[in-house]
Symmetry: C2
Subunit: 289 residues, 2 copies
Amino acid sequence: MTTSDTDLPALWTHEPHTHLEFKPGSSVTGIDPDATPGFVGSKRDAPVLQAERNIRFAELQEMLYANSRAGDTRSLLLVLQGMDTAGKGGIVKHVVGAGNPQGIDYASFGKPTEEELAHHYLWRIRNALPAAGHIGVFDRSHYEDVLIVRVHNLVPPEVWGARYDEINAFEKELVEGGTKIVKVAMFVSLDEQKKRLAERLERPDKFWKYNPADIDERLLWPKYQEAYQVMLDRTSTDYAPWHVIPCNRKWYSRLAILELLIEALKEFNFAWPPPDFDVKAEKKRLARA
Amino acid sequence: MTTSDTDLPALWTHEPHTHLEFKPGSSVTGIDPDATPGFVGSKRDAPVLQAERNIRFAELQEMLYANSRAGDTRSLLLVLQGMDTAGKGGIVKHVVGAGNPQGIDYASFGKPTEEELAHHYLWRIRNALPAAGHIGVFDRSHYEDVLIVRVHNLVPPEVWGARYDEINAFEKELVEGGTKIVKVAMFVSLDEQKKRLAERLERPDKFWKYNPADIDERLLWPKYQEAYQVMLDRTSTDYAPWHVIPCNRKWYSRLAILELLIEALKEFNFAWPPPDFDVKAEKKRLARA
């Protein structure tokens, strides 16, 4: 196993981040959720490719974990944001799920509890940060505090307005502390969302995923578009850029985010940690034991 | 998808717990770590069977999780104990790893930290219990407090001696609170352990798993056998029985523990939770939204 940069599957024209990184000045209304940027294969290619890259992801995760056991404190944080049905849960299940639970720190951020509301909005976020050598997954995140909170004015505008800079400072601190952050904004179309919500209302095994409040949020789509635009404009930094993921095709969004995670893990440039014991001496001890 | 009891694969002669539950009065020295009790297939059957049953496990996990979203507070706790190299890590990676990270609460219990030592030994255990609807995995557990602690007399005998009853009371409280406990004691032979430790000393990608202290513990094998015997004798209860897993064949131990988890999840007898909203009315709202 190596961490070479040459193992990008041929079905990607370039490393996915080059296609997916949010470009300053671009507009969310110009995003085509049906697109498959950078990928020249089709849905038929997806299962085999995903299975192969899941294995690569798991290998790299193990190497990250192994290094933490040898004292390295770095970690990875995947931040998932997107409207309902964009496929955040599918990423957790089918992409992150390829990893070893031993090194996955999953956290979801729904409506804050009373205890959470009694603290700074980043309190619950800080409590859920990944341990050294782990991959953290935020299913929704601190960005809720400039999305739903902004759309509904749950706090005064001057309060949420100050959060963009605060979040940038917070993330800078994380990155400087050794946490690589992969932020993905998942975009599904209004029509596709309708289909996916309708499916949840058709299938008894999906009822539990349906929440009547999803429709209330859906009706605020333009306001959310605006909130996403400002979020992307103001919190895409060189140390923690946003990636824009078209999500109407689940197979594409999964492959794309999987590849972003692999890229990020490779950037650590880890090798297997050297032994912190005398291998020969231990072999002798073992032979006698 | 159903939760019928008739889906046991034909390669198992009986539900695995009937073969694997610790039988009062039986001796750990009589355990054959090479055995494959109850399984009439071979290693060649394992990959396909494991893949199939991993899917079944994931379906049942989703149903447990779904019910918690509808207010059910039950959970499952897998307790893994075994000597070094018995394969605990493999169970986490290859069996628990088949589940959705969203509903897995993994915790490992190594040498206690200073903060942990400043508390009751069950403090760190209670802090790591699975949330409602989740599957908790203890990679080592409170049983360390009657295993390594007993073997090394890290606390006076009257202190560890009192823990068996305490643990039984603790687990009773958990079970009464809705947590189903699956306890597995994983047995590897001395010879097989030697092989596995040797492999860790041969392969640079395995050095990080090797710890010189493993040999010190290996030299105390008879004392550990005794500690395991007393643990099994005194903490096998009708509400939280121990299972004895022969682990020289990794493919068997994984299939066996996977099946124990499936059995336990089936015992919850869950169905998909009914909608807590008016399906027809929501369909109308969605059509207009």
